[in-house]
Symmetry: C2
């Protein structure tokens, strides 16, 4: 169930002292080959953290040997000094890997090291702790180090998120962190996926983009987009198997879907996971736009927290989508909550008392636009006292 389950990977997680809690905060993932294929999907936020800028450049050649990740500081909005810190982290990691003989015969350059950071924005990283932490992480690298790495990237996560998709002779492993700021482009998070499939960089990139579009981009916990979102796929080729592009995309999508569902289940302060399905839209984009306004309605989300199937708040949100984005007749809209059609043809349907929201954490909301045949499911969470508490009681 870890990123070291696929062949050709070693990993570690150590405590460098970046977090005041004293919990592990530096993770390292190394691709020991024979291939060093890499792809990444990065935040679309225009305010980008230094490690995002670095990783975009470093992965442009479709290759990487390692990913070094830290929690305890996002290194975002830290100016040229912050970028220099990221550069130095990559250089230091490359040198330490080389000195430890992990890099392989051809050595490791800074450009072979991808960097991810997560934590508070606008604060420099304490490099005097981070760099010794990198040394410790190199020393701790292990064939079964995936679990330690997954724990070291946690921030407000209450559980580590890991996955493994086993195919015939090859597999995809994954780890992710993320518990707040879960929104599109991407769900706010760091994620490293590993596979021992023998694939080229273009195939890995296409598979990763298809997978994220169908999974992490369908999670919108609180509508907020991070400056640090990064999803990385490393392919070692160690299995000697070469799946078709569709097979690879399928396995990576399954892995990402599993991790995305784990992120929703651990969203900060949430008491309900809500699957919003929009059916019979004119296009996928139309369906997604409708789903997203519902997912971002604080009134709707607070109602679900109160176990109130308040379909009026669904309709009032749906009605804000411009007709050119999603054509529909407001007098044709149907809404079902947990399978009970509480709204029919834009008006009152089954009695809302038939809906039992208290019974389970998972809630389904289905909106039928009667305007086509496209369908999208978007995951979100309810708006709770604990969400407000967690996001107001301390800076993060």
């Amino acid at each position: 169930m870890t990123i070291t389950a696929p062949a050709g990977f070693r990993a570690s997680g150590v405590t460098a002292g970046l977090k005041v809690s004293g919990k592990p905060d530096v993770a390292l993932v190394v691709n020991t080959g024979p291939r060093r294929v890499a792809a990444a999907v990065l935040t679309s936020n225009r305010v980008q953290a230094a490690p995002v800028v670095w990783t975009r450049q470093a992965v442009a050649d479709g290759a990487a040997r390692a990913v070094v990740l830290n929690s305890g500081g996002a290194n975002a909005c830290t100016g040229p000094e912050g970028f220099a810190d990221t550069h130095r982290t990559a250089e230091h990691t490359a040198a330490a890997l080389g000195a430890a003989g992990v890099g392989g015969a051809d050595g490791v350059g800074a450009g072979d090291v991808l960097v991810c950071s997560t934590g508070l924005i606008g604060v420099r990283l304490p490099m005097d702790r981070l760099l010794p932490g990198v040394d410790a992480a190199v020393g701790a690298l292990a064939d079964d180090g995936g679990d330690a790495a997954a724990h070291a990237i946690m921030t407000t996560d209450t559980v580590a998120k890991q996955t493994l998709v086993q195919e015939a002779g090859w597999s995809v492993g994954g780890m992710a962190k993320g518990a707040g700021m879960l929104a599109p482009g991407l769900a706010t998070m760091l994620c490293v996926l590993t596979t021992d499939a023998d694939v080229d960089a273009a195939t890995a990139d296409a598979a990763l983009r298809a997978a994220t579009a169908a999974t992490f981009e369908r999670v919108d916990s609180d509508g907020c987009m991070s400056t640090n979102d990064t999803v990385i796929l490393l392919a070692s080729g160690a299995s000697g198997r070469t799946p078709t592009p569709d097979e690879l995309a399928g396995a990576v999508t399954t892995a990402c879907a599993d991790l995305a569902r784990q992120l929703v289940a651990d969203a900060e302060g949430a008491s309900h996971d809500i699957a919003i399905t929009v059916r019979n839209a004119s296009t996928q984009d139309a369906a997604l736009a409708v789903a997203r306004v519902v997912a971002r309605s604080n009134l709707f989300k607070a109602a679900i927290f109160g176990n109130d199937p308040n379909w009026g708040r669904v309709l009032s949100a749906v009605g804000t989508v411009p007709p050119q984005v999603a054509p529909f007749d407001a007098l044709a809209l149907d809404v079902a909550v947990n399978g009970v059609q509480v709204c029919r043809a834009g008006g009152v349907g089954e009695p809302r008392e038939l809906v039992d929201l208290a019974a389970a954490r998972e809630v389904t909301v289905e909106v039928d636009l009667h305007a086509g045949d496209a369908e999208v499911t978007l995951w979100t969470n309810d708006l709770t006292h604990d969400y407000v508490h967690e996001n107001s009681a301390y800076s993060s």
Copy 2:
């Protein structure tokens, strides 16, 4: 300070029993002329309550004799039956006014009566209580009935919102209700403005549209848009004064600005009123788009509740605006909170400890895009435990 301060208006507020609380729930405003000019700005939500559909038709001729308003039920998503209820309410009001001799020599038709409703969506109005309530409201009409009317339209409002703008020989009065769902197009609310200025329908309509765009459309408390938003301006001509179009627009804007500020100050559960000013944008629309994403960031709003000047959450929100909507260089952004420039050139500025958010309810956030000279100020509120409580503990 009420809608009956301008000459030519009578009003009332009575208890019809629509609210379980037993508080006043039916209001009536009558324009006794000599003019019966009317203009309305209505929600842009595609899901529109029956009274909104009715009022749009009834005001199309630029004239109205009366406005009947009820709290205790929105009459939204109630199908053809709900529209029939609104129609019947207008007919009944017209007949009752005629029977009471209030309508003037030329009588009152249903098309002279505008209707507004507010309350829970998806529930039919109890017409057997509402219509007797209308009769009582007609009987209670008084030259100083504005205050009673303002109280009868309250829902979760903790105070009645009223205003009066006194000009040379004429004036503009106003009342509004709204405490949640405060969002653009319009801030969710009902509002009736009265003036004794002698103006034509086109001038009244232009003044009202200019005023709402600059005031209610600049309030975004919780990002949620209602199905019932209605702002109505009635002009009696009773002062015999005819201001210029600019003078009328100015006075109406002043009245709306006062009411908008009162709405923000009474937003459900809020502990802070936040003025987000975006400066030096390429256009007004660009400035507004940037202000709106900040106003809708739950992470930012929760931070303000926690008295935390978390400018990283401002920047991560600003960065989600597409470049074609608002061009700016992310590395040029400045952010000041309560006058302290905590972010300079996209990086760390003054120490956040210098910002004291606990001292006052009002908070200022200034974002400088360095991309032009357009400026917009948008008002919002913080995200609090009380907001979650009020919007989850009962259906509304």
